[in-house]
């Protein structure tokens, strides 16, 4: 600091000295905690109703595998939501990435890891291209990604039709099937093995979570992404290269979408055109439930995991209870809305408590 300013001492003193209650709301007001509690409570409820819910291999393993994939999908959306944009082409970017992986395995006989890299690269490139168009033209991301969705939808199915017989690459590199069914039980340290409930595919999700978490909470890039989302004008005037941040966010989104596409392909077995068809709504649901704002500037990386888990747990529970299709969706919607309302009540009550204690 260059200039010693006659600091308005008493204000400074007061801010430091007078023991004001900490501004941060206590942890139990946190929305994330609410989600966690809800998820656990529902899981416990289902566990009691149907002890089979806790069957590690038949229930928890597939459940966690689905959560793993969908969390990455939600993270792909979260990346663009952070700059206040949307990516309606998540699903198609996933299919696009998976196409390249499949092609690599089928034609070039790439090893598993290399194919994954190709897939991620393709996703990042297509995402980056989308971001570039948005940044250069200033047209709403909604319109651009929607157009991109159409373009990719056409392109992917054209390519699959041209390159394959059944609209799918069925060649499987060695290791793919293991990855699909391997759980932590296959990893042993000495005599202690992991839980058979946790799929090894979750490693990608954990990596994505940690990576994004680090990005958004610890690094300059992440902060700049958030500020770009919070107020693009002010960000530009504060010297943030908003255009480049938009591109970054979109290529990150493309990369994560491609990762999700890869994971979906691995968990079902082949690389096909219909991968990602159903990604759009879960991507928003997971991110928004987890506390990420649609308007940009606020993201919650763990929230994406929690939000996705909540929905997946409800669904799984209903499946286990044998609820047929004629009621499944009705219950799913009701349970979700009721659970969230209950959480709101909790949040309001605890907020009031904080206010009263001031």
């Amino acid at each position: 600091m260059r200039t010693p300013v006659t600091a308005p001492e008493h204000v400074a003193g007061e801010a430091a000295g007078a023991q004001r209650p900490p501004r941060r709301l206590p942890f139990w007001v946190d929305q994330r905690l609410g989600l966690l509690v809800l998820t656990v409570a529902l899981a416990a409820l289902f566990g009691v109703l149907r002890p089979a819910f806790l069957d590690q291999r038949l229930v928890l393993f597939p459940l966690l595998r689905e959560i793993s994939t969908l969390t990455v999908v939600a993270l792909a959306q979260l990346a663009v939501l952070s700059v206040g944009h949307m990516n309606l082409a998540v699903g198609r970017m996933a299919a696009f990435g998976a196409l390249f992986a499949g092609l690599g395995y089928d034609r070039l006989h790439l090893p598993l890891q290399l194919g994954l890299l190709v897939c991620l690269f393709a996703g990042a490139v297509i995402g980056g291209l989308t971001g570039w168009i948005i940044a250069r033209t200033g047209v709403s991301s909604f319109v651009v990604t929607l157009a991109m969705d159409f373009a990719l939808m056409g392109l992917v199915s054209l390519l699959y039709s041209a390159l394959t017989e059944n609209a799918a690459f069925t060649t499987r590199p060695s290791g793919l099937l293991d990855l699909r069914s391997a759980s932590l039980a296959d990893i042993c340290v000495g005599r202690v093995c992991g839980s058979p409930a946790v799929p090894q595919m979750a490693q990608f999700t954990v990596l994505a979570l940690v990576g994004l978490g680090f990005l958004y909470t610890r690094t300059r890039m992440g902060r700049e992404l958030l500020l770009t989302g919070a107020n693009p004008k002010a960000a530009e005037l504060s010297g943030i290269p908003t255009g480049r941040r938009v591109i970054l966010a979109h290529s990150l989104s493309g990369l994560l979408a491609a990762l999700a596409g890869f994971m979906a392909a691995v968990s079902t077995g082949t690389f096909r055109a219909s991968i990602g068809d159903d990604f759009m709504l879960p991507s928003f649901l997971g991110a928004v439930l987890g506390g990420t704002l649609l308007t940009g500037g606020v993201v919650c990386v763990v929230g994406a995991l929690l939000g996705t888990s909540l929905v997946a747990v409800i669904r799984k529970g209903l499946d286990l209870l044998g609820v047929g299709l004629e009621s499944l969706n009705i219950y799913l919607g009701c349970v979700l809305l009721l659970a969230l309302s209950a959480d709101r009540v909790r949040a309001v009550v605890s907020y009031r408590k904080v206010v009263r204690s001031t």
Binding site: L58, V59, L63, T69, S157, A167, A168, L177, T268, L328
Partner: protein
């Protein structure tokens, strides 16, 4: 009240007519899950057929669960959930024909009996115990033949079908192409319109646009997906076009259209037979009473062209086919102790 349920009034319990050794000894330990890819009128007869089979053979349980919602990952999840709920024999319509073998392998490796019903895995191998389904390509071929016949052997044909990037759709396209080719140029395939099975409105829009643009040039429409079939029947009637429509399946709506003449023919499959024979064979396999002679074998459950002439009688032919199927299983396909 579901469409097609009326066709589900099954033959009496002549099911035990298999050779002695293929008689199910004790089915109480068998719980069969019939899992379609999602909600679709085609699968509705499975429900009744499954329930009847349960009663007839004294199975531990039969369930019909369509919550897979046309998503392979959801279906995989559903299957393992069903396994956790104690089901040990599965009749599955795989959402994605290219992926379903992996799922079958999973189930098989856990000691469950698995049948691929109503659709076979794509490619030469089948990891299920057996596949009992309509031969999709043959059915499409038959439909196209029916359309060509209705058109009088010449003219222009349009093919309406579902999701382009689905292995079964590709088979259907092949089947139709084959029939057209056989006419030696007398019939021309004007266009194959894919991806119009998502919803009724899309299908209707596509058909109307087609008729508006090229209506006078089209003599026949063959549909191999449900919504386009409904839409085409209606559009042809209301636009006064002379095109002959060949539909698929036999829900009440389509049968009505056959009767009033707006649909020339429909190709019906044999869902009842699939569920009934499939359940029975699954029970035999699951109790280890029998084994497949050639695991992974494909059995055609039959497809039938229905026109106004045989609208009242085709069901009998179908039932006969079901009986025959059962016999085939008992005599040649299964080896029993």
């Amino acid at each position: 009240k579901n469409s097609g349920a009326d066709t589900g009034t099954r033959a009496p319990a002549t099911g035990k007519s298999g050779t002695g050794s293929a008689e199910l000894a004790d089915g109480s330990g068998v719980k069969v899950a019939l899992v379609p890819g999602g909600a679709h009128p085609y699968f509705q007869p499975w429900k009744a057929a499954g329930a009847a089979a349960k009663k007839e053979y004294g199975l531990g349980g039969v369930t019909f669960d369509e919550t897979a919602e046309w998503d392979q990952q959801k279906q995989d999840n559903l299957l393992s959930t069903l396994a956790a709920r104690g089901y040990n024999a599965f009749g599955v319509f795989g959402v994605s024909p290219t992926d379903i073998n992996t799922t079958f392998e999973d189930l098989r490796s856990q000691g469950f009996a698995v049948a691929s019903l109503a659709s076979c895995p794509a490619g030469p191998t089948d990891k299920a115990d057996f596949c009992l389904s309509t031969d999709v390509e043959v059915a499409a071929y038959k439909a196209a033949r029916a359309a060509i016949d209705a058109m009088g052997g010449k003219g222009t044909l349009v093919h309406l079908t579902g999701n382009n990037v689905d292995a079964n759709t590709q088979l259907r396209i092949k089947g139709v192409a084959k029939a057209v080719k056989e006419t030696g140029g007398k019939v021309r395939l004007l266009q194959t319109i894919t991806d119009v099975d998502k919803d009724l409105q899309t299908a209707q829009k596509a058909v109307s646009d087609l008729l508006a643009a090229k209506g006078d040039r089209i003599q026949g429409i063959v549909t191999t997906a449900y919504n386009p079939a409904v839409a085409a029947a209606d559009a042809v009637r209301s636009s006064g076009s002379a095109a002959k429509v060949v539909a698929i399946d036999d829900d009440a709506k389509i049968l009505g259209a056959i009767k009033d003449g707006s649909v020339a023919a429909t190709v019906v499959q044999n869902p009842v037979g699939q569920a009934e024979v499939g359940t029975w064979a699954l029970a035999l396999l699951q109790t280890k009473q029998c084994a497949m002679r050639h695991p992974g074998q494909t059995v055609d459950s039959g497809s039938f062209v229905v026109t106004k002439a045989n609208a009242g009688t085709y069901d009998a032919a179908r039932k006969a086919r079901t009986e025959q199927l059962k016999k085939e299983f008992a005599d040649t396909l299964l080896v029993c102790e």
